[in-house]
Subunit: 337 residues, 2 copies
């Protein structure tokens, strides 16, 4: 059942059926109704491949995700789900492509095979070869996170440097003098992962500005690493009274370490950072933290991408999100001095 079959049954030409469906040229009301009747009766749906070939666009967006081996975090997951929903609101579908930078057959297929009209690239590095490939391919794309020459490209990011800086200031206001940053994993930092780099920079700079002693430590993205890492901090730097973190996955371990050490939050120790709301409220006690607004980022990313697809010559735009730091119960005045 193709468009020719519909045309034959209605007794019109294929082009008339096409115009009736798209509305790009006027078709008499009576004809439209007959066409719609037949279509409903036969359950006809236009073939997406044929339409894509003729129109030169696929109504599909590519979403490049980290490979399964890099255990996706909770935030990433909800970002993916949100992207799919926002795209659906634009009547677009989402094609997934796992890419770690290496075994990139999938990335190749998606980018060079004109399978998609645009791409959203998650988890980019400060210098990322995939960004170069996309740039030279001419395919519209938006990155989550931004690269060095950010002005020329389209991106959405969370202002890790600014947020972490504000967290440190908050701790300084409460009288803390010895603070630590629990960052993401060694590997991520080594590979030039933006959020980790910027969090570290914002942390050290601001702490120095307030005359605090500050250390930043890397920690793998899992509870066990969080436990080990935090116990080491408590042992080696007993003077530390507050921690800032962007490592959500390590939090359960941090909590256990605090509990084992008999430290009460916030009486004996303050904890804050950039943590998705749903994790922050489930912590014990609920965390004073800035949200990672995955849904909002997805909305913005798709908006920016659709804008560029509609008008490739539009000037690059971007969004640096700085969600508010919500005061909950995990930070308090420093009791030690």
């Amino acid at each position: 059942m193709n468009i020719g079959e519909i045309a034959k049954r209605v007794g019109v030409s294929r082009s008339t059926v096409s115009y009736a469906l798209s509305g790009k040229r006027p078709v008499s009301a009576a004809t439209v109704r007959r066409i719609n009747d037949v279509i409903a009766e036969l359950g006809y749906r236009p073939n997406a491949s044929a339409r894509a070939l003729a129109e030169g666009r696929t109504r599909t967006l590519g979403l490049v995700i980290p490979p399964a081996s890099t255990r996706l975090t909770d935030v990433q997951l909800s970002f993916v789900a949100s992207v799919v929903e926002v795209a659906a609101a634009y009547d677009h579908d989402v094609l997934l492509s796992p890419s770690g930078g290496d075994h990139d057959r999938s990335f190749d297929r998606v980018v060079t095979g004109r399978r998609v009209d645009g791409v959203i690239l998650m988890e980019i590095l400060l210098r990322d070869p995939r960004v170069d490939r996309l740039t030279s391919s001419g395919l519209p794309f938006v990155t989550i996170g931004h690269v060095a020459d950010s002005a020329a490209s389209r991106w959405v990011d969370v202002d890790y440097a600014g947020l972490i800086s504000r967290c440190v200031r908050h701790l300084a206001d409460l009288g803390h003098e010895h603070v630590v940053l629990i960052n993401r994993s060694d590997e991520l930092v080594a590979s030039g992962y933006g959020p980790a780099m910027r969090a570290s920079a914002g942390f050290l700079e601001t702490a120095e500005g307030f005359g605090m002693t500050a250390h930043d430590v890397c920690c793998a993205d899992d509870p066990a690493a969080g436990l080990a890492c935090f116990e080491q901090i408590l042992e080696r730097r007993p003077e530390v009274t507050a921690a800032v973190t962007i490592n959500e996955a390590a939090l359960p371990g941090v909590q256990r370490a605090l509990h084992r050490a008999g430290l009460d939050v916030p009486r004996d120790f303050s904890l804050t950072g950039v943590i998705a709301d749903r994790l922050a409220v489930d912590f014990h006690p609920p965390l004073t933290a800035a949200d990672v607004p995955a849904g909002q980022m997805a909305q913005l990313a798709v908006d920016l991408l659709m804008e560029q697809i509609a008008d490739p010559s539009a000037p690059p735009r971007h969004a640096l999100l700085a969600p508010p730091i919500t005061l909950r119960s995990s930070t308090g005045a420093c009791r030690r001095s």
Copy 2:
């Protein structure tokens, strides 16, 4: 740069280029080399839409996921990532479609627009309209979880009934007489969600067989609900000495409730169930539990789907996985009587 351009530059016909690329007819070695040279030089990639139209297949699989509003669980996420990777190994891409079960535009587009060669349907209900739609559309599909008339369809599932039954037997062997099942949410049970129904059935039946008193309670999929739900159990049924669960999201709350009540695991209380390994090992103490093998399920689901796509007349196959219950430290002999 299309196939005609390549053909012109090499000085052969379009069909020769096509055959050289697909290998479906012999082409002289010299010609193949010249074609490959030109292709490499121009960076040519065949247009996926044109190929799909001509071949009648898209080399794309559809993956129907729960909508973002239904917060995806950790296990679901890693399942999605695994499906994408397995599909990539088959040189196929994955198109995502969020579907809540009703008349979904996205689901419609994917299913009826010949956008995909086959579909994997996650989180199906015991009676699911989407299964009927797919069946009548003739599109190959595999479900995660199985419906009532399971013999006629293709599916992959975890044997929740059997696994929960074995968990209960394990607790019976340890001398427990009063047990509780912490099930998934009310809504899921009400809508006929297979794993919840089967877990409940296996639980009650087996407990009865051992002469235990057994209660199953529903609990929303988040830590707060887990806490509230478990505190209520401890208060209303103080005789209970062991719990079985399939609700991973509620676990942190259960842990806190146990801690608040001053109950030590496994000395005072035993806890087991079907829990993804990565969560089970991070629990304190590590949980005796059956894994939810998301990666293996993804592999099997894609295998089954590709098999059906290759030969639509192949007899339906399915896989009911019963991963081993790994003994860790969360279950022990009953101290009360």
